[in-house]
Structure formats: structure tokens, C-alpha cells
Symmetry: C2
Subunit: 340 residues, 2 copies
């Protein structure tokens, strides 16, 4: 009995040390998951990615430090990533099959469970702000297409000519995808496997940016923004603007933003699954995130996600070669990674 | 000890009697929840609703009896409701602010977790079939706007002139909503409460049709179809086409279709929450459905939902005055209800 007491004391002590040593994260971001290999990267390109991810974290952290809300932090952070042509969101959005840029975004407030999302906008400079406007300036949660563009304009957001989103790299990417597609895909409704209407270009699907933030008041917020899938047709919408799939946030559990093969994230309702695994099964944010991503993997999907709980615990699992990602702690320490 | 044994035996017996007495449902449908009061209904109108709900159940039941899949049953059932002008889906779709009919639908296969959804289509006679085509004839889950219309055409579905969806009742409804709205709503971004861009016409939001079916192979499928919200602006999309929110299906738990104030269903990811409460917390389909709807109610939202689990247990909770609903058992017994 005495031995047991000593052992218990020791365990408690170990736990206390562990907790105090644990870092408290206040933000986590991603810039997309996918086939990101070191061998395909130049030191200059790598430095550019690291610099933008760092700048994005700093922008959000400044908001948190100034006592602003986690929503402000998420919006400021995602603006940096949307305005950088290297990420598939905002300025760097990929092209649809028709040579257009159709952007999607969502944001959610963990305190109130308010949410906003837009899909298929073509003239909003910063889609994450359009999503926030839908949340705060309308009674709705989701708006799509030209209606969403009109709403953003009426809400006073910065509207740009669709040409703003034209970048040489993405245009070349579309031409490449079309070329590859015309070789690979067969538009034949009769046959079973190749008979799918749509385009098989899975390597182009992983660019998305996202952020989860925890403010001084202890409130979580998360947001996701994307240019979708290169060469996408038929007004395809992925998981990013779907509340529960690519984006979800709840103070009681965690804030989540996903990136990857969107269809699998929608079918698995990944972000809400993580929250429910925490709420109903008592899993940690790391365990829940891993389990949800494993479901995606088992089905044949891939990608990654970021999650942050109210205590500042972070999870950043991915089952691809790499994921642009970064964190910042309460005391301002930044960590940025790209590969496994 | 002996007493306890006798008691246990008695309990087991009671349970066995209860199980054998329990009905096995193979289909459940809804035709929308809302302010449906007996005093506003004529006997003729009531009879029309009951007749169509009965016809819809019979159409799906015929598929199941013929050994077809639950997906076939859901599609056949929803066709009947979409083709009837009394329900806010397909032919009876309500009008947007601009005098258009924009339709949304989703379908999900509980066996494979495959899913399909369309939002904002204007030329597809039966949006539930467009959702199914997205699921089966593309690699995508969701398509929106004119892209989705084009896809439906390419997939060989019946395309109609948008005029097909014009009905006098819905047109009058729009005029009424616009009149009411111009009195009530103030489009003023400056003020807080009345300053929302969008329109407050909550009484017009509840028309949606849905179905969950269980086939002879033991597979579940669920589907939802809607014309959205009368007088809606800005390309608003509700919960019906959002997998996890208004529609979800999983053989391991249940098939679910929701109807109600869509924004609250999206924010609560209602359909997936029900599935997760069953999977992770071990609740019954009735308990899980009630708990999920209570979350909506606590937030200020209202509506209803239908759910059916693999064993044929059904749940049809709603927190509105009424919900058009019906069930059919394995041996063909139909029950249809409207009020509380």
C-alpha cells in the first residue's frame, strides 16, 4: 500500500512536469498537403515558402497579442497566404478547365458556432473575408457563385477583376493538366472505370491554406481558403467551404482546417468527426485527428489537416509526402516545416 | 440469488417480446417541417398531401420489393415528391428574390459512403437524380451552379426549361415575401440587428423533401431535395446538399435527411452528429436524433429530421408545428402524418 502511494505520487509529479513542459500553441497553419518532395524544391523556392508561412503566422500572432479575436487572427493570417501567388488560394488560385479562377473559403467561430462560407467566387480578392462577411453580415452560412460575389461587393469587400488571379505558373499548370488529361481520361459513359465525367488529376488537388487560432479570451476560430482543383469542371466544390468537412470549430473541442483530396474529406465529414471523437469518445486532439485521417486513408484518399484545442495542443497529421505547415506558441516561438 | 435469477429471466423475456413486437421499417420520408397547422388546412389539401406521401412511399417500396437497391428506392420516392407541385422540391420549388428557381439535392450510399450533391441547378427536372449522377458518374461529390446543370445534361438526365418550375402558388409566395420583407427588413449595414444583408422570412424556409431506405441486402441510403428558401438572395445554399449537415448515411449507424432552418443544421452538422452519437456514444437512433435536434433548438433553430437505422428502427423528431412524414414497414404497412 505504501509502495503504491509512493508510486502514485511519482506519477503525479511526472504528470505535473510534463504539463508544465508542454508548449502552449496559439496558432497553427497549413499551406496545402501533397506530393511535396525535397528533390523537386530549390533552396530559393523553399526559402520563399518558409518566409511566407512565417509572415502569415506573425500577422495572426500580432492580432492575438493585441488582444483581438481568434477570428481576426485567422483572417489576417489567411490574407497573407491568399495574397501570395505560391499558395493555391486567392492570388495563387489554380485554373478551372474553362480557364477561370473559382475560389472557395470558410470560417467558423468556436465560441458561438457561427460560420460562413463562399464557393465559386471569381471577383473577391480575399475569399476568407467574404466567408466572414457571410457569417457576420447575413443570416446565412453559405453562398455560392455570382450571388456570393454580389454579396461580397454589397458587404464592402475589395472586388478585383478576375484577371487579378491570373499567374503564369497556374496557367501553365492548367495547360499541363489538360494535356495529361486528354491522354489519360476517356469521356465514355459506357465503360465503368474510365467512364467518369470529370477529370483525373489527383496530383493537382492539394493546394489549400488554413489556419486555427486561439485568442487571449480562450476562443478558437478556424478558416480555410482554396482555389480548388486545377482543371476542375462542372462547378466542382471541394471540402474547404463545407462546414464539418474541411472546416469546423468548437471551443468545447477544437478548431480544424483540412487540406487534401476534398471528396474524401466530404464523404467522411472529417473536421466534425474529429470534434465528435473528442466530445463523445474523449479522445485527445492528436488521437482524434489521426483517427479521422486514417479513415480518409483507408478509403483511398490522402491529404492532411491541422487542429488546435482550447488548451493549446496542436495536431498536424498528413499522409502525403509533405504539408506546408507552421505553428506559433503563446510566447511567440515559430516553427515551420514542409516535409515529413 | 434465486430471486435475482428469476428477475433476470423475466427481463429477458420482456425484451424478447418487445423485440418481436417491434416493427421493422424499410422506408421513412419527409415533405418538410414548419408552421403546418390544421386550422390552415382544408380537408381537400390535406388529402392531397397524404395521397402524394403515400404514393411516394409506394414507389420506393416497389423498388425494395423488387430487390433493387436502397438508392433506387430513395430516387424513385423523391421523384414522386419532386414532381408534385405541393412540395418545395423539383416542380414545386420556391422562387429566389430574382424570380428564379434554384434547386439543391444530395444523396448518400450507406454501404460505400459514396455521396453526390448539386446546388443551385435551374434546368434539371429531378435534382435528386443529378446528385446521384454526380456520385456515380463523376469523381466528385458536389457540383454547383451552371456547371452542375451542364454535368446533368452530359450525364443524360432530363433537362427542362426553367419555366417548368413556375407555379402560381410559389410565385404568389414570392410576391408576399417581398412585400413582407420590404416592410420588415432594413438593408442597412450600419445598424446591428436589422443591418444584415439578406432577408428575414423564416416562415418560408421549411419546404424540403427527403427519404431514407433500407433494402433487402441490408443497405441504407438517404436523399434530400429542396427548392431552398423563398426570396433567397446571393446564391444562398442551405443544409440539404451539404453532406453531414442535411444528408448523411452510414450502414454502421443510420441514414438521415433533415428539413428546417438550414443555417442551424449546417452549423451543427446535424446528420453526421446523429451518426457520431450512435457510433461513438452508443446512443439509439431515436436518442441520437433527439439530442441533435435539441442542439438546433437550443441555438434558436427549428425544423425536423428523419432517420432509419440498419435494424429498421425509425426516428422522426421535429420541433415545429408539423412535419409531413410517412413510413412503410417491411410488410408494406404505410403510416402518414402531418401534425404533432
Amino acid at each position: 500500500m505504501k509502495l503504491f502511494k509512493i508510486f502514485s505520487l511519482f506519477m503525479l509529479l511526472a504528470l505535473a512536469v510534463n504539463v508544465s513542459a508542454q508548449k502552449k500553441y496559439v496558432m497553427v497553419i497549413h499551406g496545402g498537403a501533397g506530393t511535396i518532395l525535397k528533390k523537386n524544391m530549390t533552396p530559393e523556392k523553399e526559402a520563399t515558402y518558409v518566409a511566407t508561412l512565417t509572415k502569415a503566422l506573425q500577422a495572426g500572432y500580432a492580432e492575438i497579442k493585441a488582444g483581438k479575436s481568434s477570428l481576426d487572427a485567422v483572417e489576417a493570417t489567411i490574407h497573407v497566404l491568399e495574397n501570395d501567388p505560391h499558395f493555391n488560394a486567392g492570388k495563387g488560385a489554380v485554373f478551372t478547365h474553362d480557364g477561370r479562377n473559382e475560389l472557395d473559403a470558410a470560417i467558423m467561430d468556436g465560441k458561438t458556432l457561427m460560420a460562413g462560407a463562399v464557393a465559386g467566387v471569381t471577383t473577391v480578392k480575399n475569399p476568407i473575408s467574404a466567408a466572414r462577411a457571410v457569417m457576420e453580415k447575413s443570416e446565412h452560412v453559405m453562398m455560392v457563385g455570382s450571388g456570393a460575389d454580389l454579396f461580397a461587393k454589397d458587404a464592402g469587400l475589395e472586388i478585383v477583376d478576375p484577371k487579378y488571379f491570373w499567374t503564369k505558373e497556374r496557367w501553365d499548370g492548367l495547360q499541363e493538366a489538360i494535356k495529361e488529361d486528354s491522354t489519360k481520361a476517356v469521356l465514355d459513359l459506357g465503360s465503368k472505370k474510365s467512364g467518369l465525367l470529370g477529370i483525373k488529376n489527383h496530383d493537382y488537388k492539394f493546394g489549400t491554406v488554413g489556419c486555427v487560432a486561439l485568442d487571449q479570451a480562450g476562443n478558437l476560430a478556424s478558416g480555410t481558403s482554396t482555389g480548388g482543383m486545377t482543371n476542375k469542371k462542372y462547378g466542382r466544390v471541394g471540402d474547404a467551404p463545407i462546414i464539418g468537412a474541411g472546416t469546423y470549430c468548437n471551443n468545447e473541442t477544437a478548431g480544424i482546417s483540412c487540406t487534401g483530396w476534398g471528396e474524401f474529406y466530404i464523404r467522411n465529414v472529417v473536421a466534425k468527426t474529429i470534434s465528435d471523437l473528442m466530445e463523445y469518445k474523449g479522445l485527445s486532439v492528436a488521437e482524434a485527428s489521426k483517427m479521422a485521417l486514417d479513415k480518409v486513408g483507408k478509403m483511398g484518399g490522402d491529404g492532411g489537416l491541422i487542429a488546435l484545442d482550447k488548451k493549446g495542443n496542436v495536431a498536424m497529421p498528413f499522409n502525403t509526402e509533405g504539408m506546408y505547415r507552421g505553428t506559433i506558441t503563446a510566447d511567440g516561438k515559430i516553427e515551420v516545416s514542409i516535409y515529413k
